[in-house]
Symmetry: C2
Subunit: 342 residues, 2 copies
């Protein structure tokens, strides 16, 4: 049974498992330091499709198929799928997953989507609302660039605080407790808006949400950064990560070397020209569903707080002078289940 | 405890309550036949805001505030809020609800969003994942028109199969069983795509999804239209409603006079020039959270199947020649709870 601890955190007493997980990325990500850990690296950023949007749909489809295959499951074994992405009306998810025939919950959490979908899938399994659920999301540099910024052909220059949208997808199958990674806690975020308006500095807009969720989780569970091997944010990048450190320091929590960010891990910032790091729903999804989950599975990492953050603006809201609200959801993954739970 | 019946339907044994509900609409809806049932009718379609998008955010905020007020609750009493809308990146929800400080799940289900959010809120309460959750959505004629179709100033002519986006919002507070309406079943939809490409005929694109969800629900529960007072679709309009009748007839179910559609109820089609009827997330939300829930509360309606449908395309997918996938989620609302449950 799920147990609410404090206002924000739920303890998942049965410790559901990530039964399987898979990641799909493209050329640039395949040239980065995490290359050995991805399931599929497609050098063709179009993934054989005619548009970038269809390429992104294809990545979601491939990530889910690969995850199901690794667990020896078919889509008929899945009770629910929780999916979303960055594109207007979330078309990567709806077109990518329309052939599965699985009951579908569409989500919008911007770059927090992997944590949102994984939270919901884990809570559903924990609460016996289903046996097996899939969480998936994606992003594509080219579809995001032309939707949120400029036509690709324009070749606009980039601010040093800007981030590079990851072309990638990650999918996880959540089921009853069988093997690590186990989901031990979920902490659902609130919308935080500190008034940041610089669209080229999304890390700064999202850092307050990550700080809020982490400090609430530490309070609810009476723990701190020292209790975990890794506090893994989604895509705060260099600027947002520094800000998170400062904000949590004020609350009395020192992250120090316990913190890393998927946006800083997926590319080599020295050689890959990605400014402040990677971003996009597919950034945290592909890093989680490859290197991180493999490390938890193998026991190299024991307790990881996965905190994906999203910036909930649109081009319209920015043009209308609005600030950028952020949100962060937390999933505590572990190599060991709760004691006595089941 | 929730009980899965068949592959698609969950029986909510504790029969959670819609503790309160509220609706906010604008001038045109306030001139329609349901006017006496809405909580707030604002003749100014800008709701005092400077843009249509901000007006839509304002409606969501007002609908939630009104629903909380009617239940004598404050936002601190709410465990989770499930919200979404039609705008790119769902900004009506994120901007409208950012000040609440309530853990937030952002959804995208197009015009199925009220059924999606109500399903999740009800399942969370049923499964003891929380005590109280809010479901809310909205749409605005002006923000939708300029995002999906033409600038308002263009004054494009409308096809007879087209529908009129409702300017409205509906919010429901779901809690433990106290009084009607009770939520007795939830049936989550799959994405259905029959190849419809006519963007001026969304009813036809969504009808197959409604038919699929309804026939699965009837099969899972071993019931038929005769067991209910009303089968209420979201916004199929005139064309989609006829198609739904035909599709279900083929499956052996005759809806006949048991069927009505929020898009056909909210306007007087004889006098209000809305072509095939109303549409938009706010259509089913405002009709459900006013006339329908009031009738269940008063016992005038006993068993209602609320089936909101969504068309999951975007302007980009349509321009790329894609067909329009649809989805429909079902919530069974009743004036009496399950016997023996609690």
């Amino acid at each position: 049974m799920p147990t609410k601890i404090g206002k924000y955190t739920t303890r998942l007493d049965t410790s559901p498992s990530l039964v399987s997980f898979a990641s799909v990325v493209s050329k640039k990500e395949g040239e980065g330091p995490l290359a050995p850990y991805f399931d599929m690296i497609c050098d063709d950023t179009s993934f054989g499709e005619q548009t970038w949007e269809k390429a992104e749909s294809r990545m979601q489809k491939d990530a889910v198929s690969k995850a199901l295959q690794k667990a020896n499951l078919s889509s008929s074994n899945i009770d629910y799928i929780f999916a979303g992405d960055l594109l207007n009306q979330c078309i990567s998810s709806s077109y990518g997953l329309r052939d599965l025939g699985v009951p579908f919950f569409g989500l919008y959490g911007a770059c927090s989507t992997m944590a949102e979908s994984l939270s919901l899938a884990s809570l559903f399994v924990e609460a016996s609302l289903c046996n097996t659920a899939v969480a998936v999301t994606s992003s594509h540099f080219c579809s995001a660039e032309r939707q949120f910024r400029f036509p690709l052909e324009y070749g606009g220059s980039r601010a040093p605080t800007s981030q590079w949208t990851v072309t990638g997808s990650g999918a996880a199958v959540v089921g009853k407790q069988v093997s690590p990674p186990y989901v031990k806690h979920v902490c659902v975020g609130t919308i935080e808006d500190m008034g940041i308006k610089d669209i080229n500095n999304m890390g700064a807009a999202m850092a307050p949400a990550a700080a809020a969720t982490l400090s609430r989780f530490f309070e609810d569970t009476v723990t701190g950064p020292d209790n975990y091997d890794l506090v893994l944010t989604g895509d705060l990048g260099q600027v947002g990560s520094q800000l998170l450190d400062e904000l949590l320091e004020r609350e009395g929590y020192t992250l120090g070397k316990k913190h890393n960010d998927c946006g800083l891990m997926i590319y080599d910032r020295e050689t890959q020209d990605v400014a402040a790091g990677g971003s996009g729903c597919g950034c945290s999804a592909s890093v989680l569903c490859s290197y991180i989950c493999q490390a938890i599975q193998a026991g190299r990492l024991r307790d990881v707080l996965f905190v994906a953050t999203g910036a909930l603006m649109s081009t319209t809201s920015v043009q209308q002078g609005e600030s950028i609200p952020g949100i962060a959801h937390l999933v505590h993954l572990s190599s060991t289940p709760h004691k006595g739970g089941k």
